[in-house]
């Protein structure tokens, strides 16, 4: 069990932890004979330069273009996944008919990692739909499966209560099943967005066309600019963190009723 720590001690320990981490990093970096691992200060000065100057690089794009293309691919892939997976999940959880139709396809496709689709996607789709498709696959299954689980977890006594208040099947679906499943759906959205973010960077690394943060770190690695690679990684981390924080905030708000006091 976690005990109580004074705020001061917690901040102190966080500082000590970060300082040791960057200290160790710095020590390894200056002793790296090949100079592949840049020092933390190299990375941060590079990061500041990239963000402030926003110059055109070898790929023919400015840095903000990379960020924008990656974000838009994730946005479209993820939104498409949510728009398809939530209704399909609600129906599959609710109706044995819908489940019997969707389950075989889902079970067939689910074990295939989204990355395995990349070679096909690059040839089959035109940019940017190749990477949008990969994000879609990554985000789709977590959202679908948590939504189905959400519908199945609805307490049958709530269904009974709604029936005795005059609810028909349509009412049960819209007024009980859907709202009761929201906490599960939001969990699926959070996980789906996280998986989508991982798949986009991987897809861009492997070689979709156009700009993107994955393309950027891949190109910089090819020309040995490792401080730029790390700066790109840092940006990927920050954006991922911000997205998950925002979704977690919405999730908390929408699921507040389900929290245990």
């Amino acid at each position: 069990m976690k005990g109580q720590l004074f705020l001061f001690s917690r901040i102190l320990l966080a500082v000590v932890s970060l300082v040791s981490f960057f200290g160790l990093w710095w020590w390894i970096a200056i002793h790296d004979p090949r100079g592949v691992l840049p020092t933390p200060q190299d990375i941060f000065t590079t990061l500041a330069r990239i963000v402030i100057t926003n110059q055109r690089d070898l790929t023919g794009h400015v840095f903000s273009d990379h960020v924008a293309s990656t974000l838009s691919r994730v946005f479209y892939g993820f939104s498409l996944a949510a728009v398809v997976a939530i209704p399909v999940g609600l129906l599959s959880g609710w109706s044995i008919w819908a489940e019997s139709i969707s389950k075989p396809i889902v079970e067939l496709l689910r074990p295939i990692p989204p990355f395995a689709w990349i070679p096909f996607a690059i040839i089959f789709f035109r940019e940017p739909f190749d990477s949008v498709f990969i994000v879609y696959l990554g985000a789709f299954f977590p959202i679908l499966l948590t939504t189905i689980a959400g519908v199945k977890a609805v307490d049958s006594i709530l269904i009974d209560a709604a029936k005795t208040l005059g609810a028909n099947r349509g009412h049960l679906f819209s007024k009980v099943i859907v709202p009761a499943s929201i906490p599960h759906i939001m969990t699926g959205i959070r996980i789906g967005l996280g998986v989508g973010w991982m798949t986009i960077v991987a897809a861009e690394l492997v070689g979709v066309k156009g700009g993107g943060l994955g393309v950027y770190i891949h190109t910089m690695s090819d020309i040995g600019r490792f401080e730029n690679v790390f700066a790109g990684m840092f940006i990927i981390g920050i954006i991922g963190f911000l997205m998950i924080t925002a979704v977690t905030y919405v999730e908390r708000r929408l699921s507040r009723w389900a929290e245990i006091l």
Partner: protein, 259 residues
Amino acid sequence: MGRDTIIQIRDLNKVFEHEKTTVEALADLNLDVYKGEFFCVIGPTGCGKTTLLRIIAGLEPPTKGEILLNGQKVGKPGADRGLVFQEFALFPWRTSRKNIEFGLEIKRLPLEERQEIVERYIKLVGLQGFENALPRQLSSGMKQRVAIARALATDPEVLLMDEPFGSLDAQTRNIMQRELLAIWEETKKTVVFVTHSVDEAVYLADRIVVLTARPGTVKKLMEVKLPRPRDRTGEEFYAVRRPLLQELEIEAEKAMKKG
């Protein structure tokens, strides 16, 4: 009190079949419930009290026999038979007000009328100050008030109550019993109230039916003629309680031997 019958239970049988085991829950049950009365059903654990209520509510079909409400055969569940569950069964994402409004939304009443009805029942059950609380923020007693208001808001013919105070502590239970009687007197609803507490039944009921151990059927039907408010500690109260307790004990022993 008029003696118009509102619910007629005719040769009711219920058998539950689950894989290879069959359980006979109710056998040849015949009962009449009168309009406007407070009717209590008591019986040993597992005697089919709850099953009886769920069949009246339309949540379970009878295996044989039928139930008539105002002479009409009861089928699917509907807002004409309000049910109050022991586990409250409130919609956890809805505030007290929105829980009470649920059945009115389904009836498609206009917003103003809904709000007016909700306000009336919030006052009736004493929920002022808790209108906008979520169920998880309410005590058990308050939750059951919301559930009672929700069941009454659609103006049902009968109010079915399945051990509604079973999970409340003794003090809260006594308060809720008193308030339920006040609500019943004001709304003049027919109440069918299932409990395993003889004390509760004697305090509340106009008439009490004791069911036998499984399969449940009528063991004893008795009228409680004590004037209200009833004194739980009075000699008359005990005089009513005693024979009921004896009957119930015999049935409870039978139920235990059957396992």
